[in-house]
């Protein structure tokens, strides 16, 4: 319907435009408004200046989420490569199996890791039965990062797989014919061509990792605080909406900056759905 009349077009688009202005844009304005006001509604810079005292929290969130993203990439890329080499029917089934956990309550799945790994958990139970030494995992940064990698790995696998599966196979043959070995082909042909998929994978893992609160809460039994935990606490426990808004604003700015960096590698408009 490319030849839709302007009136019809406007009529069709208007519900969405109204909706987006009211419930996407306006709320963002409110975040900014609350960040720059105090409890009584007077303008202040106190919240923004106060962000400095949360520097350690921000640092920890950034660090953990970068490590988690890197691990996701290292695990996902070989898998995506392996998937592409399989039969088309197998590929389809396995991709569905990658997506399946994404649609299960991440609360329960994360909790299941706690059940597995806690000091009195299933794994330690088995180690006891085999009279092997126990291991301590929950409450360490490693546990939080494991939670992130586990939850967001599919977000890395799917976009990389999508770009890899669209690559023209004759490029590999050409590289091979021109004398490149498997490693050289991977490094100089496949990897550069799959950059758009890698970039969207990185954003899709980094954004939820940096802002998580449930994963850190569970995997550290509330002892390792991340920026998401602090925002949640400000809103739900302390009811300090202004400081909470300022923290969210800072988080949003960080996310936008990292997305702008990543956008440089993807040219299409928002192709997130595989």
């Amino acid at each position: 319907m490319r030849q839709l009349k302007p009136l019809a077009r406007r009529l069709l688009a208007s519900p969405y435009i109204v909706w987006a202005v009211l419930f996407v844009l306006a709320p963002m304005v409110f975040v900014v408004y609350y960040s720059f006001t105090d409890r009584s509604g007077a303008w202040t810079l106190e919240n923004i200046l106060g962000l400095g005292s949360y520097a350690q929290l921000f640092g920890r969130s950034i660090w953990y989420s970068i490590v988690a993203t890197l691990l996701c990439f290292l695990l996902a890329y070989p898998l995506a490569l392996a998937l592409c080499k399989m039969k088309v029917k197998t590929q389809r089934i396995l991709v569905m199996l990658v997506m399946l956990p994404m649609w299960m309550s991440f609360l329960i799945r994360t909790y299941a890791w706690l059940v597995l790994l806690q000091d009195e958990g299933i794994v330690n139970h088995w180690l006891d039965a085999l009279s092997l030494p126990r291991f301590h995992m929950i409450n360490t940064p490693g546990a939080v990062i494991l939670g992130m990698v586990y939850n967001y790995l599919p977000f890395m696998i799917l976009p990389i797989y999508t770009t890899l599966s669209k690559l023209d196979g004759s490029l590999h043959e050409a590289a091979h014919d021109l004398g490149a070995n498997a490693a050289q082909t991977l490094w100089r042909v496949t990897l550069p061509l799959s950059l758009p998929g890698i970039a969207s994978g990185i954003t899709m893992v980094l954004v939820p990792s940096i802002s998580t609160f449930y994963i850190s809460q569970k995997m550290s039994t509330g002892n390792i605080f991340m920026i998401g935990d602090m925002i949640e606490q400000k809103f739900v426990m302390d009811y300090d909406l202004n400081m909470g808004a300022a923290l969210s604003l800072a988080l949003m700015v960080m996310v936008i900056v990292s997305m702008m960096v990543m956008r440089r590698f993807t040219d299409n408009e928002g192709e997130v759905i595989p």
Binding site: M1, R2, Q3, L4, R9, R10, L12, A13, P15, Y16, A20, F23, V24, L25, M28, F30, Y33, L75, L79, A82, L83, R92, L94, L97, L100, P101, W103, M104, S105, F106, L107, I108, R109, Y111, A112, W113, V115, L116, E120, H125, Y150, L153, E173, V207, S211, F213, K218, I231, E232, F235, V236, L241, S248, L251, M252, M259, E269, G270, V272, I273
Partner: protein
């Protein structure tokens, strides 16, 4: 591809065979990692004993306990109602918007709209959630009901984060369509509406269904945004699960998640089926 010959051919094949074996092993390890928690919860849901660590015997008692749990059942009902309403509304708004966006020439408004569509998808859930909460609370204070959060605010929030997925599912399909088809229908005497109903709509139905299912599952599973946009008056299942996992849990929660697992599995099969049928259609 030309056929390699003799020894070279055999070498290539054994190398590929070995490669395939390594890839299969690697895939297996990753899938074990992805499914370890699922296995835990399925096994424990049949535990005969009240423990989430030690297995002892087999029983359905946790399924019974879950079915008798008032809060969880209400949560489940609320979640389904909310997901149906939200995905229905999101599908209508999103499909209309996609059709309009497809007809739009490149312009500032169109690009602005595409950017706005990206916001709920790319913003961290926690920011989307609190931004809406702030607005609802302030609006509530102005109206004078003390910023009451409940079904209404949840529905608004869910529709908001679902619409972009519908748009980004339907829009590419419209783009792939031959624009001359609708023109031809109109040349042959169809009114624009009839041309839409009889030519365009059948072509995009599968993408609308995919978008609607995606919206439905997203709404079903959302915790973070719901966490901030409701108060105790209307709790969905993920919110109930959240409050349950704050305390030591009983195996009944795993019975519930096993059931969800099966449900989602069936839904995914349906999506897969719809997709492969759509593909067969395009080939034909």
């Amino acid at each position: 591809m030309t056929k390699p010959q003799g020894a070279e051919h055999r070498l290539a094949r054994t190398q590929r065979g070995k490669g395939a074996w390594v890839s299969a092993m690697y895939a297996l390890i990753i899938f074990l990692f992805l499914y370890a928690p699922m296995v835990v919860m399925v096994v424990i849901s049949f535990n005969g004993k009240n423990s989430i660590v030690e297995m002892d015997g087999f029983s359905f008692r946790w399924y019974k306990e879950f079915a008798e749990n008032r809060a969880l059942m209400t949560g489940l009902r609320n979640t389904l109602i909310l997901a149906l309403c939200a995905s229905g509304a999101a599908t209508l708004i999103g499909t209309a918007a996609a059709i309009a966006l497809d007809a739009w020439k490149k312009s500032l408004t169109r690009s602005a709209l595409m950017v706005v569509t990206d916001i709920p998808m790319m913003a961290p859930d926690i920011v989307t959630g609190i931004s809406m909460m702030l607005m609802f609370v302030l609006f509530g204070t102005i109206v004078g009901n003390g910023g009451s959060l409940g079904f209404g605010t949840l529905l608004i929030a869910h529709i908001t984060f679902c619409v972009p997925y519908v748009i980004l599912s339907v829009l590419p399909r419209l783009r792939q369509m031959d624009p001359h088809l609708a023109e031809a229908a109109m040349d042959l005497g169809c009114t624009p509406f009839a041309a839409f109903r009889r030519v365009v709509l059948p072509n995009i139905t599968s993408s609308i269904v995919t978008g609607a299912l995606m919206a439905f599952t997203l709404s079903l599973d959302d915790f973070v945004i719901s966490h901030f946009t409701t108060s105790g008056s209307f709790n969905t299942l993920p919110l109930e699960i959240y409050s349950i996992t704050r305390k030591p849990v009983r195996p009944s929660i795993f019975a519930l998640s096993t059931l969800i697992f099966v449900g989602i599995f069936l839904l995914l099969l349906l999506i897969n089926f719809a997709q492969s049928r759509a593909e067969r259609k395009t080939i034909r």
